[in-house]
Amino acid sequence: MAVGTTRSTAYDGTSYTRGGTVDRADVGALVQSAADGDAAAWKSLVDGLGPLVWSVARSHGLSDADAHEVYQTAWFRFAQNLGRIREPEKTGSWLASTARHECLKLLKASRRWTPTDDPQLLDRPSDDRTPEESVLDSEEAAAQTERVRLLWQEFEELGERCRQLLRVLISSPPPSYQEVSAALGIAVGSIGPMRQRCLRRLRARLEARGTK
């Protein structure tokens, strides 16, 4: 398993970069190309930043339908403002922040009309089968499947805050801390220490189950 995000310095929250920021280096140029009418650049943005937007929707404990709407609203609004965004290289943060505000609004709306908690959500199998999922279904991969399921189960049983932070951090490619900050409304400097504690909590849970 590849190590994608090894850090080189301590947790000061500013002096190191995550692997993702390398992947994000092109974002400004892609936004410019898309604004000039390049549909392929737009598609690259959807693939590069879509999982981050999705993770924001998923991390806020919305219903399935609401998560879909948040994702769509963020992209529709981005398309609408393409060419008008002041700092195109920060589009990831812009999308994450837009998604967050929509999440908070939908949560407020649903509190008005229906109970907020949706216990079904966490157990929901994903809509679409990925190629990876199909591979995992094969016999020889059964042990790996089990490992992934256990890991996910323990992740979902973490406290809400840890689950929320980690869900955004583990979007793919890895988001920058600025994007995580925009996604969750927390200070960049607190992300590193929180991440460390949450991951160690998760490891402790896995160890308790004898799976690590």
Binding site: V46, Q72, A79, R197
Partner: protein
């Protein structure tokens, strides 16, 4: 974020001692590996649904160089004080851009709106990159229509002088 800290304190007390002795680099390597493993699990068990990704790809068609964007400047859901006893009040929205304001009121029964300055306009009710319905604002800038369909929507208004599109949002 005090509740956040509460969640971690318990953990700290349990092994705060060990943590200091813990080799930082080793710990960081482990954290990175576990995070990467979780990232793979998320990609398998909770990916962006394929249909939703397609909607985002198609949304490129919403890039509209002709139109000015009218931003949401009032939303009763956020800005209004709830009226006691009213369990399902209408959603009041105001969108503004230089010199043009669009007031919209959405209920389960339908949508009514007012364009300012008053005047006739052709209106498209957009509900995604591919679908829309048409309305007309009368000489006084008034328009009525069915409630927007589920999901995010936007109004694209063509007045005599210009094209204005409202910020996307869910009604």
């Amino acid at each position: 974020m005090s509740d956040l800290n509460d969640e971690y304190d318990e953990y700290d007390e349990r092994d705060g001692q060990d943590e200091r002795a813990y080799d930082e680099r080793d710990g960081e390597l482990h954290d990175g590996l576990l995070e990467e493993e979780l990232r793979e699990a998320a990609a398998i068990l909770d990916p962006v649904p394929a249909g939703l990704r397609r909607v985002a790809v198609d949304a490129f068609a919403l890039h509209d160089l002709e139109a000015r964007v009218a931003e949401l400047t009032f939303d009763s859901l956020v800005d209004a004080i709830p009226v006691r006893g009213e369990s399902d009040p209408p959603r009041m929205l105001t969108f503004s851009t230089d010199g043009v304001t669009v007031d919209v009121e959405v209920t389960a029964d339908g949508m009514i709106g007012q364009l300012l300055p008053p005047g006739p306009a052709g209106i498209e009710v957009l509900s995604g990159p591919r679908t829309h319905t048409r309305l007309t604002a009368d000489d006084m800038g008034r328009f009525t229509g069915e409630a927007p369909p589920a999901g995010p929507f936007a109004l694209r208004l063509r007045t005599g002088r210009e094209v204005v599109v409202t910020e996307w949002l869910r009604a």
